[in-house]
Assembly symmetry: C2
Homo-oligomer: 562 residues x 2
C-alpha cells in the first residue's frame, strides 16, 4: 500500500484511454501528483461487427472523480480521431480549458455547434512558439506536417523529465499551403535530453518515406492538363492541404472551383477565414453557379470519396443533386485512400461513375493521394532527431506499435526502454525508470448510436449481428389457461429469414409443431412452467428451421395466457 502511494507520488503516470490498440479514439492522460493534463480527445469509426453504431469514444470513467485536477486539454490537430469525443466528454470532465492552434480551435468550435446540449467550450488559442504552464507541466509546441495545416507536436516538461508527443506527423520537405517540419527546432528540443518520445505509428508498416504533397499536386496537374471537360474531385473534408492543391491548380489552369458538401464547405470556410487556405477572389464559386461556366472552366470539389450514403458524390450519381449530373467527358478524381471496410462500396461507386460517362482516376492508378502519417524512414528520422531515452509508440494497432518498436531498436534504443502500452494500462515514469504497472483503468469502447452514448453494449450488438445474418422469427401463442391449449393458430412474425409469402408450407408446419410442443409440455399439469415451454419452442423450432433451411434466425417465442 505504502509503496503504491509512494509510486503515485514520485512517478508520472501516462495512461492512454484510447489510440494504442486501434487507429482512432486518441486520448492520453498525463498525471503527476495533483496535476492532470490530457492530449487529444478523439473518436474512432466502428468496426464491421458493430452495425448501426455511429462511432466510438474513449471511456473517461477514470477521470470522473479527478475533474478538479485537470489543468487543460491539448489538441494536436483538427481531425476527428483527435477532436471527435469533445462534444460528448467535456461535460463529464467539468469542461476544463482546451488549448489548440487557431485552425484546430476553429474546427472544434464549429463542430460543437452541432451538439446544442454540449457545454460552451473554453478554448485558448495557442501559437507554435507559445510556452504554457499547466500545473506542474510546462508545455511547448513544434510544427509538424500532416494533411491538415496547423498540426503541432508537444513538448511536455515534467518533474521527471522531458516528454515529446509528436501528434500525427510526416516529414514533408515540400508541403503545399504549409511550411516544412522544422528540423532545427526538433534538434533544439532534443538538446536538454528527452526522457520519453511518444510517436505516431499509423504508417509504421509502410517502408520508405511518405509522399510529399507537392508530388500529389504534380500528379493532379497531369489530369488538369488533359481533362477535356469538368474535373470532379472527391476527397476527405479534413484534407485542407489537398484543397489548397486543387485551388492552386484551378488558378493555374483557369478553372473555377465549386465546393460542395456540408463538412467540406464548413472546413474551407474556417480555413479561409483564418488564412490557412489561400485563393484569389472569384476562384471559389457556389455550386449552383457551376453550370454557368463551360465545362473546361470548372472544378467541383466535394465529399463522398468513401461512397458515404449522403455525401455529395453519392447524391450526384443517384441523380439527386440539384445542380450536378455526371456528363461524358467528366474526369472524376478520388483523392483519398479507401478506409478499410469501404472498398466494395467505392468499387461500385466507381462503376456507376464510369457508366454515367465519367472517367475515374483512383490512387491505385497513380499517386493522387498521400497519407498524413510518417512511414518507416520518417519514423526513423524522428527517433534519430529526438534521441529519447525511452520510447512509447502511439497511434495504431498493436502490430503497428510493435513494428515502430523494431524501428526504434534498429536506431539503437535498447528493447527494455521501448514500452508497447495498452489502452487503460498505467505507464509509470520515474526519474530513471519506466514500467507498466499492474493497474488498469476502464478503457472499454463507449459506443455512440443516435442520442445514446454508451447504452449499446455487447448484447445489443450480438442481436443485431444475428438478425443481420438470418433474420428473426417471433412466435406468438395465445393459450387458454384452463385447457393449456393454443387458441386458434399461433401468430408468426418473421423478417429477414425467408420471404414469407413463398413459404406457406414451412409456416404451416411450424404452426403444427408449436401446437404439438405446447400440448406435450403444457397439458395435464396443474401448474404449467411456461418458461420451460418457451425454451422448448425456441430449441425445437430453431432446430426444425435449421434442418429445413440451414439458417438460424433468432427465434423468439411469446406466450400469452388468457
Amino acid at each position: 500500500m505504502i509503496k503504491t502511494t509512494e509510486e503515485k507520488m514520485s512517478n508520472l503516470r501516462i495512461i492512454a484511454l484510447g489510440g494504442l490498440e486501434e487507429v482512432g479514439r486518441n486520448m492520453t492522460v498525463f498525471e503527476y501528483k495533483d496535476d492532470i493534463i490530457i492530449v487529444d480527445m478523439g473518436l474512432q469509426f466502428p468496426e464491421e461487427d458493430m452495425p448501426g453504431i455511429d462511432y466510438i469514444i474513449p471511456n473517461t470513467a477514470y477521470l470522473k472523480d479527478k475533474k478538479d485536477r485537470i489543468r487543460g486539454i491539448i489538441i494536436t490537430h483538427g481531425h476527428y480521431d483527435h477532436i471527435g469525443a469533445i462534444p460528448h466528454s467535456m461535460g463529464r470532465l467539468g469542461n476544463p480549458p482546451i488549448y489548440a492552434t487557431p485552425l484546430t480551435a476553429g474546427i472544434i468550435k464549429k463542430r460543437q455547434e452541432d451538439f446544442p446540449q454540449a457545454p460552451r467550450l473554453n478554448i485558448h488559442e495557442i501559437k507554435e512558439t507559445d510556452k504554457i504552464d499547466l500545473g506542474c507541466f510546462k508545455i511547448e509546441f513544434f510544427h509538424v506536417n500532416h494533411n491538415i495545416p496547423d498540426g503541432v507536436g508537444i513538448v511536455i516538461d515534467t518533474p521527471v523529465g522531458r516528454l515529446v508527443h509528436t501528434g500525427d506527423f510526416k516529414f514533408d520537405h515540400t508541403p503545399v499551403g504549409d511550411k516544412p517540419i522544422d528540423i532545427s527546432r526538433l534538434k533544439e528540443i532534443s538538446q536538454p535530453g528527452v526522457k520519453v518520445l511518444m510517436s505516431d505509428s499509423t504508417s509504421a508498416e509502410k517502408p520508405g518515406h511518405s509522399i510529399s504533397e507537392k508530388e500529389i499536386q504534380d500528379n493532379l496537374e497531369i489530369i488538369f492538363k488533359e481533362a477535356p471537360g469538368r474535373i470532379i474531385i472527391a476527397t476527405f473534408a479534413s484534407l485542407i492541404s489537398r484543397v489548397q492543391e486543387v485551388l492552386n491548380l484551378a488558378e493555374k489552369y483557369d478553372r473555377k472551383v465549386a465546393i460542395d458538401g456540408y463538412s467540406m464547405k464548413t472546413n474551407v470556410e474556417i480555413a479561409k477565414k483564418l488564412g490557412y487556405l489561400k485563393s484569389q477572389k472569384g476562384t471559389i464559386i457556389r455550386v449552383n453557379r457551376a453550370n454557368d461556366y463551360p465545362n473546361k472552366k470548372i472544378v467541383i470539389l466535394c465529399t463522398g470519396a468513401q461512397g458515404e450514403d449522403n455525401a455529395v458524390l453519392m447524391r450526384i450519381v443517384n441523380q439527386e443533386h440539384r445542380h450536378i449530373k455526371i456528363q461524358k467527358g467528366d474526369a472524376i478524381i478520388f483523392s483519398s485512400s479507401v478506409v478499410p471496410g469501404n472498398e466494395r462500396t467505392v468499387q461500385s461507386l466507381k462503376d456507376v461513375l464510369w457508366r454515367q460517362g465519367g472517367r475515374v482516376y483512383h490512387y491505385q492508378m497513380m499517386d493522387i493521394h498521400a497519407g498524413g502519417h510518417g512511414q518507416e524512414e520518417d519514423l526513423r528520422a524522428m527517433l534519430e532527431l529526438i534521441k529519447p531515452k525511452f520510447f512509447i509508440p502511439i497511434h495504431g494497432s498493436y502490430y503497428m506499435l510493435k513494428l515502430h518498436g523494431e524501428i526504434a531498436e534498429a536506431v539503437g534504443i535498447p528493447s527494455k526502454n521501448i514500452i508497447i502500452g495498452r489502452n487503460g494500462k498505467v505507464i509509470l515514469l520515474g526519474q530513471k525508470s519506466i514500467k507498466i504497472s499492474e493497474e488498469r483503468v476502464p478503457n472499454n469502447y463507449v459506443m455512440v448510436d443516435g442520442l445514446g452514448v454508451g447504452d449499446v453494449g455487447q448484447v445489443v450488438l450480438r442481436d443485431r449481428q444475428t438478425m443481420a445474418q438470418d433474420g428473426m422469427f417471433v412466435i406468438i401463442a395465445v393459450i387458454n389457461s384452463k385447457t393449456g391449449r393454443v387458441y386458434g393458430e399461433p401468430d408468426i412474425i418473421s423478417r429477414g429469414f425467408v420471404y414469407l409469402r413463398e413459404s406457406k408450407d414451412l409456416l404451416d408446419q411450424v404452426r403444427r409443431k408449436i401446437k404439438e410442443i405446447v400440448s406435450h409440455t403444457a397439458t395435464s399439469e396443474h401448474t404449467v412452467n411456461w418458461v420451460y415451454v418457451k425454451e422448448n419452442i425456441r430449441d425445437k423450432i430453431g432446430q426444425f428451421l435449421y434442418t429445413k433451411t440451414q439458417r438460424r434466425p433468432m427465434v423468439l417465442p411469446v406466450i400469452i395466457e388468457i
Copy 2:
C-alpha cells in the same frame, strides 16, 4: 419479326450471364442456331449489403427451355468464381457434359461430393492439345499462367469466325510448378485471323506487368532464411502455385510442411495425386506431428489469411486448435491479398498474432503475394499477340472493362470494334459485324443462403439491413373485442435496439402510448379497422422512439383480438 429470326439464324449470340459487372460469377453462353456451349459456371461472394448470404450464382432461366441444345460446358480453371455454380446449376441444365483439364476436373468432382442432392457429373478430361467438336463449334485450348496450374484459354471456331477466350491469365515467364504461357502458340492461334478476343480485365486498373511467382518465391525465401522458429503461412487454398513455392523452400531449408484446413488439404491431395504438386517423400507431414520436430524444422501451411471465422489461423489464435498455438519466434506470413470487405478483420487478426508473440509478414511490407491476373502490360501483350478484329473485355466491373477497352484502343483497335457488354445483354456477331442487341435475358443475382437458392430477395435483405442498423421492436397487444381495449399491458419484444433492462422508463412510456393509440382509434366504433390501428401504432411509436433515441428500429405491431 422476320428480321429478328433471320438475325438469330445467321449470328452467333454471345450472352454473359455473369462476370461483366462484377469480379466473379463468370458464365458465358455461346449460341449459334441449335447449338449452345457455355464457358465457366462460377459463383460470386456477396456484397456488404447482403448480410447472411453465402454466395451468388448466375441466373440460368434463359437456358431453361434450351437444355437439349447445350453441347457442353467448358471450364477454364478450378477457381470458385469459375466452377462454384456447378453443383446448383447442372441439374437445372439437364446435366450436360463438362470439359476440363485434369486438375480442374479433380477439383470440380471433389466439390460435387459436398452436395449429395446434386447430379453425378459427366466430366470429360481434356489436354491442352485436344481438339473437340461441340455441335457447330470446334474447340481448341491454350495454356495460360494463373495462380492455379492447368488453366486454359479457349479457341472457339464458329461459323462466323474464330473467337479466343483467355479465361483468367497472366504472363509469367518464370512461373513456379508450371510452364510459361506459350507465346508461339498464341501467335499460331492468331494466324488464321481472330474475329473476337474476350480477355480477362480483373487487373486492368493496375499499371505495369504482374509479378512473377518466382519473385514471390524469392521474397518468401528471405523470410525462410531469417526465421528463428516456425514459419506459419496462410494463403488461399486455391493458390496451388503458392503451395509449390512453399514446398520448394521447405525442402531447400530442411523443414517439414504440416498442411491444415479442409479445403487446403483437399486441394493439395488432388493436385499431388494428379502430379501438379511435387514434393519429396516425407516433406509433407500431418499437422498432429508438427510438435514432434524442433521449431526451426517446421512450416505450417494453412487457410485463414482472410480472417475467416472457421479457418485454421482463426482457430489457432482463438486457442481452439488441437495442436498449434502461436509461440514467441513464430514467423507468420499472409501470402494473399485481402479480399475487399475483409480488411478490418485481417487487421485485428494480425494484431492478435503479434500480441501472442508472432511476427507477421504481410503483402504491404514486401511482395509475398502476386495476383493471378494480367496487369496493363500483360493485357496489351495479349491484344498484340492475338490481333483480334473485335474486342470484348470480360471478367470485371464496368470500370475494369472500360479501362481494358482503353488499352485495346491504344494498341489500334477502333473504338467501334470494342464492345463493353453487360450481363444478360445479347451480343450478335455476324460475318462482318458485331453489335449489342436490345434483347435482354434474365441475369439477376441468384442468392444462395443455406439450402435456399434464389429464395432470398430484396425484401428479405432490406429487412436484415434494417434490423442490423437499429434492431426491431415487436409490440403485441391483446385486445378485448367487446370493449376495444388492451388487456393488461402490451408485450414488447425488442432486440438490437436498446438494452431493455436499462430502458424501463422508455418501455413504460411506449406501453402507455400504445394504449392511448388503441383507445383513440379503436373504441366507440362498431367495426374497428385493425389495419389502420396497426399502422397508427407503427408510425407513432416509430416516431416516438426516434425522437427519444435517434434510432429507427423496425416496429412490428401485432394485434390479437380475443
